[in-house]
Subunit: 228 residues, 2 copies
């Protein structure tokens, strides 16, 4: 095993500094190679592309999170929330990278897309995990909505922190948001799809003529849910 010349973190840090100083587009891989002391060729080999370099340590975190979930076969929803916590911690613990990167991301649509892809990967991983532990072959609508909600809540709190990293109440905000989402998720992940045989029921709905069909369906959905 040949040890790598520089750690991932060192390379990312150097890249973030250069991007911030000179702008993302103006910074060349030659420049980064010179700054890190690693050849241009090796940078491409290890990190794939200039954009990927900026998110390299985040990719490593993703691997960690996936392994964590795979090792947690019980209480799926709690595991997903804990996984989201790991991700959040990945940001909060390393503001030296994540905060300036957030500024770059906001200014650069291309980098923004790259970060969005990152969170989508988490969302897909959460969906897959929840689906497997519900015994489904493909993620159900409910599972995907829950995963999306967890990610949305995570990102909501995260963006707040990234705008003002001095905030001391981040973790309370995070746990509060997750509790809110978990409360939503519980009824979604439990009942619903157990079509048991039995006598018929009657639904009577009174509603204004001209109501949007989607609104009516929502009301019916609520009524049925209350009745179950």
């Amino acid at each position: 095993m040949v040890p790598t010349r520089v750690s991932t973190r060192e390379a990312v840090l150097a890249a973030v500094r250069l991007f911030t100083a000179e702008g993302f587009d103006s910074t060349t891989m030659d420049g980064i190679a010179e700054a890190t002391g690693v050849s241009r060729r090796s940078l491409f080999r290890r990190f794939g592309s200039k954009e990927d370099l900026l998110f390299a340590e985040h990719d490593e975190l993703f691997e960690t999170v996936v392994r964590y979930m795979e090792a947690s076969p019980e209480r799926p929803m709690a595991t997903v929330v804990a996984a989201a916590r790991l991700v959040f911690q990945g940001y909060v613990r390393d503001p030296e990278i994540t905060v300036p990167r957030y500024r770059l991301v906001r200014a650069h649509p291309r980098l923004r897309d790259r970060e969005v892809a990152m969170t989508a990967r988490y969302q897909a991983a959460f969906s897959r995990y929840l689906s497997q532990h519900a015994g489904g072959d493909r993620p159900s609508l409910e599972v995907e909505v829950v995963a999306a909600a967890v990610i949305a809540a995570h990102n909501h709190v995260l963006r707040g922190w990234l705008r003002g990293p001095e905030d001391g109440r981040v973790w309370e905000r995070f746990d509060g948001a997750m509790a809110r989402v978990a409360g939503l998720a519980a009824p979604l992940l439990d009942g619903d799809d157990v079509p048991e045989a039995g006598p018929e029921r009657v639904l009577v709905a009174v509603y204004p003529r001209g109501i949007a069909t989607s609104d009516l369906l929502r009301r019916v959905s609520d009524a049925v849910a209350r009745d179950d």
Copy 2:
């Protein structure tokens, strides 16, 4: 106004065909230029990049959807659901592009990221719209979760359709999923639904106990549609 040499749709269609035949990476912009009869330079000017070319008509749809929402100041949640319906329709109505593109997207991580960025744009637009109509300066946690849920439900049904476009029940599935999400959203969002005055109608439905909620919603939807 000088008319454009080829329509966006023609260009996208040509690109999709080339990508499918030769592979995305092996297809050069020179090749696309030759196939469309437009110079390489003009392709870059109009579509930005090789990836963007593949999603060009989708970008136009996005503009349409945003304008639609801006023109709908009432009943925000119903508007968002209708907007999602527009997006869904954009896919279903043009399988010649969307279905082969889906295959490309599944095979190419880079293209997948690009598509994810697309849906993220919708999600952000939905959040912004809901937030404005709730009188907030920034989207609240609730608003962002609802937007994420709508997008997740949309994508869930969409992926099902993309895997098997011959499915005749897509719209029922879509409306069922949206009704489910709208049911979730109602308690999350505050003053969104003021039941308007007007003559009322009565719906009586008889159905087996234990029926899947989505099935029930579909039946109700059909009945209302017949009655309108």
